[in-house]
């Protein structure tokens, strides 16, 4: 993390994104924003509010509904040295553009022998829980995390939103920058000045000794909440924020698993073949002899997400489920709270 902080402010995740986009647009003429409704409409989720007015239509480009076309245009412009920051309204619509992202942006550099790079950022929010029903509530980041040539980051806090977005824009490779509808209004302290995170590193957001919760993006907020609650119950919880899904910081994951010997992965994603599967496999490979119990996965029920609120709630993992599973893993391993609380 490169930082030149002087002070800090408490702002929302949305504002952190907005300010970072503004800063990068000001810094580098080659940076431009492109996407549906990001200009006149100011963004479906108002992330780009005010930027059209400030930078004009050349730098903030409203597009027709043509994800494949405008993502491809961003790619081609990046091949010529521009630094497009694409907004795709939600991750669900990336499917229209996925051939351009996966078969083109991700592969060009390798396939063309290193002669070209594609300095492209695709910002897109994922996640369910807003009653948007099956086609508008997905977490498909695991697909992108699977693809060599891409980088995939998923900040969980306003500070990281700033530092990772700055890093993503300055990175010469295509970066999928995962946001989350439920994070936009979350507030946090954000250091002033230029902040550049290192893509590819996880962070231990909270140190603990009894059990590790691993998560990313919105899930981290819940993990921290549950960790605080468990602390009150005499359990010392370590929280690891993956931050980068590709590259994946396996060492950080394994180190925490070795330390606490109990791990729960918390993800909004669907369980089978989700992010948690890779984390579990990694831990088993790296910390096999240290584990007191198998890694548990708390993930979404495997259904196209229903609209109806009670059904949606039942299908999505919550703080309550996470709390319960942590409790289960502790109980399964005969963990004694009093002792652990050190009293």
């Amino acid at each position: 993390m490169t930082t030149e902080s002087t002070g800090s402010r408490v702002i929302t995740y949305r504002q952190a994104l907005n300010e970072t986009l503004r800063a990068e647009l000001s810094r580098d003429e080659n940076v431009f924003l492109i996407g549906e409704e990001i200009g006149v409409f100011e963004g479906s989720y108002k992330i780009t509010a005010g930027l059209l007015e400030e930078f004009g239509p050349k730098r903030v480009v409203d597009t027709p509904i043509a994800e494949e076309g405008f993502v491809g245009i961003a790619i081609g412009s990046a091949m010529l040295g521009l630094r497009p920051v694409v907004e795709i309204m939600t991750i669900n619509f990336t499917l229209i553009a996925i051939d351009q992202i996966v078969n083109h942006a991700a592969k060009m550099r390798s396939m063309f022998g290193g002669q070209v790079s594609v300095p492209l950022v695709i910002r897109t929010p994922g996640g369910g829980g807003q009653q948007l029903a099956a086609t508008h509530s997905q977490n498909l980041e695991v697909w992108y995390a699977h693809i060599p040539g891409l980088k995939v980051v998923a900040p969980s806090s306003p500070a990281d939103a700033k530092a990772l977005l700055t890093a993503a824009i300055r990175d010469d490779d295509p970066v999928l920058f995962l946001e989350n509808l439920a994070l936009y209004n979350v507030k946090g302290e954000v250091p002033d000045g230029e902040q550049i995170a290192e893509i590819g590193r996880a962070a231990v957001l909270r140190e603990g000794t009894d059990v590790t919760i691993i998560s990313y993006s919105r899930g981290v907020v819940t993990a921290l909440e549950v960790a605080a609650q468990l602390e009150d119950e005499g359990v010392s919880v370590e929280v690891v924020d993956l931050r980068s899904l590709r590259p994946l910081d396996r060492d950080a994951i394994v180190a925490s698993a070795k330390k606490t010997s109990r791990v729960v992965v918390f993800e909004d994603d669907l369980l089978s073949y989700g992010i948690g599967a890779e984390i579990s496999a990694t831990i088993s490979e790296g910390a096999f002899d240290f584990l007191d119990a198998p890694v548990r996965r708390v993930a979404a029920a495997e259904v196209p997400l229903p609209y109806s609120k009670p059904l949606e709630l039942a299908a999505l993992p919550s703080a309550a489920t996470l709390h319960q599973v942590v409790t289960e893993i502790l109980d399964d391993t005969r963990f004694s709270r009093q002792e652990a609380a050190g009293v």
């Binding site: 409704e37 029903a133 708390v298 029920a301 495997e302 229903p306 059904l311």
Partner: protein, 358 residues
Amino acid sequence: MVNTKNPVKSGRSAPRPGDSAETLRTYYEQMSLVRAFELRASEMYARAKIGGYCHLNLGEEATVVGLMAALEPRDYLFTTYRDHGYAIVRGMNPDAVMAELFGKSTGVVGGRGGSMHMFDMDLRMLGGYGIVGGQIPPATGAAFAIHYRSEAGPKTEAVMCLLGDGTTNIGAFHESLNLAGLWDLPIVYVIINNGLGMGTPVDKASAEPDLYKRGSAYRIPGVRVDGDDPIAVRDAARDALKRARVERRPSIVEAMSFRLKGHSVVDPARYRSAADSAEAQKADPVPAFRAHLISAGVLTETGAEKIDAAAEARVDVAVAFADSSPNPTVDQLFAYVYATEVPNAPSAFPGDRVVALS
């Protein structure tokens, strides 16, 4: 390719010879019902009875009614997410439509789909779709199935596929129209041109802003009609459906109307100029059609008031029904994932173990 240009906006809804007073009154009843329903939906959204996205047909009532009048019961309908009015006029019970918005088990799809996904197999309304353009290939496939199963003729089925102006710019539109043109499929693509895709005007989205001409790349003819005139819409759609049935040729109908409010209920539409909004309000097809029917002597003021009151009352009933309906039960979460049961299908709730730890 017929170009009726930007239809003249005055006098357009004058009843034509051949339509009985009863028919015209029915059209107005339907328009009034859709209007009342949509205003109430907006209100229910504000009161948090409805969640998610909610897109209304306000301003589109004449098009809704005209199109549904043209469509035969044997035909198939695919719509966008802006589907409440179509659902109701196609024949779904407003109670069940409102219940769907409320996410209740009595909703048309049991609360699974919400506002964007009205569906009724029996009514051959094969769904509202939330992915822009996503409905176009399946709708074209329904036409393919008709073509696969039957010979052309005036009594055969056809498909009507709705899409917005903004949706003509997506790849699925091109691939589908090319295939429909190539394979002579019985389908009518209705472009609901309300001038805007969210905040984007047509001429900032389409390099050919005369959207009825966009079939030219597939030798598909197109016609533009006044979407504020239910009769004009109906007649254009009927012609196009007839061509689909008899000639097995696809066509485009572009219906021009205004979106009276924001893109969805939460959009204040600040990006719209006062002039544009004023023009939209002035063109409002519901009062216009009402006034025309009155001035044509088809309807009296009191008759119209009665219709409007009945629509309100109908919507009251729908809301009461929706409100008192039960939620879907959580044990039914996995009920519809698969049609053919197979072993090992996932059924774990979050936090459940997916394998028994022995």
